[in-house]
Symmetry: C2
Subunit: 815 residues, 2 copies
Amino acid sequence: MSLLFKNLRIHQIFGANTDVGKTVLTSALVRASAALGKAVYYLKPVSTGPLDVADDEHVKRFAGRYRESVDAACLFRFDEPVSPHLAARLAQEQGKREVTVPSDETFANAVAHHIRQCATRMTRPSHMYVETAGGVHSPTLSGTTQLDSYRPLFLPTVLIGDSKLGGISSTISSYESLLLRGYIVDAIMLFRDEYYRNWEYLSPYFAERGVHVVTLDPPPERHADRAQDVELTDKYYEHIVPSTQQGGIFDAIQHLDNCHAQRLTELETMPRRTLDTIWWPFVQHGLVKSEADVNVLDSASGDFFSVYNGRRSSPSASPPALSAQGSPKTSLLEPQFDGSASWWTQAVGHAHPELALAAARAAGRYGHVMFPQGTHLPALKLAERLVHDGPGKGWASRAFFSDDGSTGMEVALKMALRAYTVKHGLDKAERKHLGILGLKGSYHGDTIGAMDACEEGVYTCEWHEAKGFWFDPPTVAIRKGKAAVSLPPALAELAGAADAQVDTRSLAHTYDVAARLQTPLAGTYRAYIERTLQKLKEKGGPTIAALVLEPLVMGAGGMIFVDPLFQRVLIDVVRGTYSSVQPRPASQWAGLPVIFDEVFVGLYRLGLQSTAPLLGTQPDIAVNAKILTGGLVPLAVTMASDSIFQAFMSEAKVDALLHGHSYTAYPVGCEVANATLEMIDKLAECEEWNVARHAWKVPESPDAKDTAVWSFWDPEFVNAVSHLDSVNEVMAFGTVLSIKVKDTSGGYQSHSAQKMLESIKTGLVEDKLSSAPGGAPFGINYRTLGDVAYFMLSLNTPAHTARSVEERIWSAIKN
Amino acid sequence: MSLLFKNLRIHQIFGANTDVGKTVLTSALVRASAALGKAVYYLKPVSTGPLDVADDEHVKRFAGRYRESVDAACLFRFDEPVSPHLAARLAQEQGKREVTVPSDETFANAVAHHIRQCATRMTRPSHMYVETAGGVHSPTLSGTTQLDSYRPLFLPTVLIGDSKLGGISSTISSYESLLLRGYIVDAIMLFRDEYYRNWEYLSPYFAERGVHVVTLDPPPERHADRAQDVELTDKYYEHIVPSTQQGGIFDAIQHLDNCHAQRLTELETMPRRTLDTIWWPFVQHGLVKSEADVNVLDSASGDFFSVYNGRRSSPSASPPALSAQGSPKTSLLEPQFDGSASWWTQAVGHAHPELALAAARAAGRYGHVMFPQGTHLPALKLAERLVHDGPGKGWASRAFFSDDGSTGMEVALKMALRAYTVKHGLDKAERKHLGILGLKGSYHGDTIGAMDACEEGVYTCEWHEAKGFWFDPPTVAIRKGKAAVSLPPALAELAGAADAQVDTRSLAHTYDVAARLQTPLAGTYRAYIERTLQKLKEKGGPTIAALVLEPLVMGAGGMIFVDPLFQRVLIDVVRGTYSSVQPRPASQWAGLPVIFDEVFVGLYRLGLQSTAPLLGTQPDIAVNAKILTGGLVPLAVTMASDSIFQAFMSEAKVDALLHGHSYTAYPVGCEVANATLEMIDKLAECEEWNVARHAWKVPESPDAKDTAVWSFWDPEFVNAVSHLDSVNEVMAFGTVLSIKVKDTSGGYQSHSAQKMLESIKTGLVEDKLSSAPGGAPFGINYRTLGDVAYFMLSLNTPAHTARSVEERIWSAIKN
């Protein structure tokens, strides 16, 4: 990730095009920095073209009398003057030498490694310039374009503008492509061409956008005579880097120094300013004791944040820390694995360029547009995709959009309550006493209505009223290498089970709902549910109007993996389809409308597009959010079957679903969701997923990928963890790993999991490169829910990253 | 707006750079279209360079034997071969001729006018190519860059790629700049350069992104001899547009035809597909009778949507309709004024490039990142701006982010309830009986908790429970040219008012709260409020724990302009600061925490950054949303004073505000909000606003801009409307115009306003150009609330647009 050193100011130099004077202007910067007494590191990671005019040679030579202060290096060199990807290929074809084309990861690691070495070597305040090849989107050796391949390093940027005819356009476009990757553009430099005068246009254009433009005289025409050319060039550099140390290029240096200083100040002050102004969600500010407790996120890439470590107190216990704070030779920014997938939202890695482009093109075409009785392509395509080919396949008829999982669930509740009211012709008084059926540990979002569909607990507020009844469900976990279903006391008694642990054949068996429907346990569940519902009726509780479930896993309630058989039997009972193994027809809801809250579990969080096929039944209403937009912007969808929709149809406006947020179905959200679904449906078919499925012994049947239990976490690692004395139980499913530690206090207030894992917060210095971008040691950002520590991957986390996270977890908890 | 004709396929041709072969490839397209029997219109809106090689001449000449089918035109011509903005300036400087540089609006109108003329003239299926000048971001005559100045016309695009060294980069960057403006890029065309082989890289690159790449042989080197050059060029065109009518260029034509046909089909099928899949917010689907009732939004720009009219049934009554439907000579897309500012969200016009860029750069730098105990620049800067320089100035200490106005209000309620509970040490049972104080007609969003802060009504669902008490407030309106405060019966009686209309001095006086605090009416309000609260206590209602107000205007409740004096007195009474004209100190809330729901009225919707200075007091909690993100993406902020924040501070996690949505403070939303606030704070100081303030006779005191009542709507127009027999009352404030029509039935179910304005839905054909982009006649998209029709502008709607909207409204209601 981003490399930032107090005493080593680094800028990467991008070009608005080839041949715009990138090397000349970089040479000028190098020479000026050296003239000001800095040690100067120049790096040209990839150089193409004849060796006698190699850029690093040029830079060093024309540093003139300051050349002793200049360290110039090149990592990959090719002599054909074409685009690097082509130069590499030509070199291979021509068999001139053994050419290994580095992968993007190897490339970024090599550049980062070089930078870190320079930082270690430096003995005085230094400047560094990393000169890229060609234009911003010229392909690097692997074929990935420059600005995507340098992105993991996230270095501040100087863009060399194009001073020729057409150069206004290429300069602005290049700038916009840089912004689309989130780069910090500190300055634009270009030649002062007196005929085209692009600088005259570009200076105010960029000033308006807060970007500094530096203009310099252009170099002389190349002279045919080599020696004369060198002399002329030398004079030119003397001219633009005058010994007075004033004017043009020195202003540029001063500006870049200021930008660097400002960035350091900004990072340094952010914790205090945050503590003074921000009210965090779900955070007890009274427990945030110091600035070091504030996680300063400077940028993000893939599964990693880039965080500021300048304020961190040194880690209390555990292995050698990443860095002795205060050492000027250590980067102030370090990678941090996003271990909770940013509250369960991430699917394809942070700052994915395709999602940024999707957001940009919808913003550019529509902005937001009024949705009621309107339509636009992003929303329509998304609705069709979700209903026909997504989690709504086979049962849903319509999509209703809102802003987050919580509002999506409020919409679902309003749908279900109305459907029940209409079907049973309830009068005004009866409507006021409707409740829902759910499971203990449920969580459907933070708005008060969604909360009322849960029991009272630490999350609920003054206005909370638990509207319904919640079963204590049997749960699934792996203990000492064995999958087991744990029965709550009432069920254990009814089952006559010697202990509360039953059905320990295998994890695959536990999730084979169809097979288990015929077991005695299914009968026990059915009897228990029926008896409970009967008692409830006799006691005169609320009229139960809907069944609301988080299928398979109750997330916020503590990563509770519910026995899927119990959920299936519960659905069958409320629908009155006791004896049938077949799903009921989707056209008409029966008994109670069934709501699936798939906000957390849906869209492949568990490796499954939807949980419905595994449960062998379908909901009447379902809600998706979080992954829906790939972890970029908020959006939720509530899908409903036609029989639910019909309950709102009439000729009277007041019968309609009178719910809607201002930004309902906003184009940016819908377009990002479309791009996400396109990507994740492809991922679900990819080889990496097959490898993981294979490791979990998923059979190769066509249905298996929609119904099987498997995980991106290594089954052997999961097994080993389940045997640890400090661990109560463990469970892995899809991207989720949940570890319940032994703790007598338990509950939401417990800090046991938090404590056990403390050491993984900071990076481990090792000899090998880490799997973080740039290869630096990384810490892990993780969340706990009381005695449960959980970790979550994206859908495209590389296997080697998952393995290193496992290693870190293992080393923290094995003792 | 976008021009789309069934039988005239139009593409605009953009270049990845200057000198990439734009004219050559366009000539090939023109010739191939003509060869296929089409009439071909070629338009070069701006041409620079020597006249003897003018592009339109070139295109026509090298259409060869098909030239009779080609109509080539140029609108603005300059002979200096430099960027158009410079060519225009040089021509002016050299005094060669009278040069008028067209504004962006004039330019777009001229191009659109030419296109419409061609469509009218055409006698057979035709193709049209509009060739831009230079690269995508080359400045046009006014200095605005190409892709921004053509954006109002939103034509489908062919991008001519760059086949030279560096051309991969400029092609991809140009493509991304096009996407940032939302353009539909149907194809990329470039020369097959055999040395640099850019096409080899670009074809798969764009194929992955769903864009078709067409490659053609490059033209011969230019020959020194003019005649030979012409001959060679002629041969070249014969070669790439072969008489076989097969291969390269004809595949391109086929592809562009397919894109056009697909676009038509898409627009044609969208209404049906929408009716089959989408569940709209706040829409009774039973009342949507036909496909013609679906508003198909193809794109948007400024204050206008571009909508499909191909399915529209011809307007029943009223003046000559925009177009005889089915005429192949009429554009299938037409402008439609966004009369509700897309549910009150728009502030700076749709698809503003600065907001699209802000969204893109935050997406590219962070994606979304975990917020609890974290920080990032977009969120921190936004919080600081809101708290210190925004609506929180002078009282707020912290910002809490959520996703929409409704969730923002739920957060506000949780804050207030807790603050009250802690201060009064309520036990568990007491907490359950807390209610709020509000006004009849309040609306705070659609989630159930926010609804519980309002009375029962058509919007509320089965779970609704009205938790509190709501006063029937006096209201402000203009009737027959006079501002008047209308008292509800109970108040009128108490005031001993002869009729319910009082205090009719002037609108300015009505909003001068400080002056009115000393009037007898203030005393009446105070007595009434105190007496009511006393009675409430005696009757044993809920414990009132907070005062919740939409200051000045209750929007969704029916654009009810509440007498500001009543709100101020109410606040003073609940705080126990009866006699004081001074605002109380912000540090500690007194009596009841006061919540301002500024979701609709805040951030200059009423021309005021916040309503607090006008009311002369400050809230303890306030919510902003809607305009906050300039009308692009959802985001809400709940600000609180320090004394509210302190109620949640402890050493126990469970005491924290345990509320948070997955995407809390997501960087894209925060960055867009920062860009918006930057823009709108500037707008508030601009000349156009001063002109409007002047028209409403706002005094030039330094405070006036924070406290005065004024509007972007013309005071004379408002006055005239107020005198109409069909109009009950009217009110204008800031961007809002509200017209209550005479209607005996009234209420939310009334369709009277809807009916009266029916005719403004479609455009009026007139001789003059309209103020819509491209100058086509425009319809108006508006929303009504029962008997209230309202219209809303953005903060930068040009005055002439506002005037034409007024004209349309006037002509509809004057009878």
